[in-house]
Symmetry: C2
Subunit: 206 residues, 2 copies
């Protein structure tokens, strides 16, 4: 399903695949990622592999030492997560405030499309996909901000706790609770109340 595609931008597919394998633990912490091995595996040259590894390093999924190679980075510590949470809240609040006045039906529809997918993922107990959809939802908020670079900061933050999304969702909670929480957020957005919307959004971040 990817052989017929543009044949360019193979980097993105590789990044997504490797990231998923790291998140799910298929590639464990500390395991080295050699460029030639990956090149053979994906049937491409080393060039796109290098770019993919660069991006993963930027996301904090792997750490690389010069002339030494790339290894899967250890997951963020608990204190690190606790640091990132208020940072995320600040960034996302800022983003929401900057776009709130200009929200229209197109935006709501986009979010509700994500919500529909979330519902399906919840009911099917597809925690991996649910985690990605949660990220996708919040990212779509930040991405709408006209401020260039905001999304880059946000990605840097969230990537650091991507593996914790999955862990958090696998707790013995009712997955649908996640879904309803996001439904409430979008519903609040529709009311046009800024303060309450910000509150709903940041209370979802923890």
């Amino acid at each position: 399903m990817s052989q017929i595609e543009p044949a360019q931008d193979q980097k993105l597919e590789i990044v997504d695949l490797l990231r998923m394998e790291i998140i799910t633990g298929r590639i464990k912490e500390g395991m080295p990622l050699r460029e030639v091995s990956l090149a053979e595996r994906f049937q491409v040259s080393r060039a796109p592999i290098r770019e993919a590894l660069k991006q993963l390093a930027h996301e904090g999924m792997v750490e690389s030492k010069p002339n030494c190679g790339v290894r899967v980075a250890p997951a963020s510590s608990d204190s690190m997560q606790e640091l990132i949470i208020p940072l995320r809240q600040t960034v996302e609040s800022f983003a929401l405030k900057s776009i709130f006045a200009d929200l229209n039906e197109t935006d709501f529809a986009e979010w509700e499309a994500i919500l529909d997918e979330m519902k399906i993922a919840c009911e099917a107990h597809h925690y991996v996909q649910l985690a990605e959809l949660d990220i996708k939802f919040h990212q779509s908020i930040v991405a709408k901000s006209p401020e260039q670079g905001l999304i880059s900061i946000w990605i840097t933050l969230v990537s650091r706790l991507r593996r914790h999304f999955l862990a958090g969702f696998q707790q013995p909670h009712d997955p649908l609770k996640i879904y309803y929480e996001h439904v409430a957020i979008v519903a609040m957005f529709r009311t046009g109340k800024l303060e309450a919307s910000v509150q709903a959004l940041i209370s979802n971040i923890d």
Copy 2:
């Protein structure tokens, strides 16, 4: 002064040079950065140029569109700067707390070496170098934290307002004030008082 060097890691030199030219305005906003042109200019192939541009994009100095090229990104907006300030304060406070108990004479000496350079830069009114030294000082604090990824987050934040450091220092202030402020910070660190040290540090961030 760079021809005899390792001949590897040319990427770093190129990044530093281009970043400086962007900060000082020698390369203006919106100006395209072509890979072949830069390759000819630095007498290297396109490979290290691509890596350098990737890193500059990660720092927010340039923005790239696929198959379209790289342009110098506009400087962060005022509202963006105001957002980043509390984020920096949070991150650096966290970093300082995590290392404070283990500080020793080696650390103090390292910082005071930077302070000496700052004094010289202040007296010579070398604002560009002064800005870089200010960044270097704060970065050295964050870098000491054992938390992996913290420095990456910090860099993402600070890079976004690198060009504003220069602008801020060129205001009609007495440059030595910057120097004395940092001297006071290190002096406070030496006393071992955590709370006061954190306060001194974050009050310097604005």
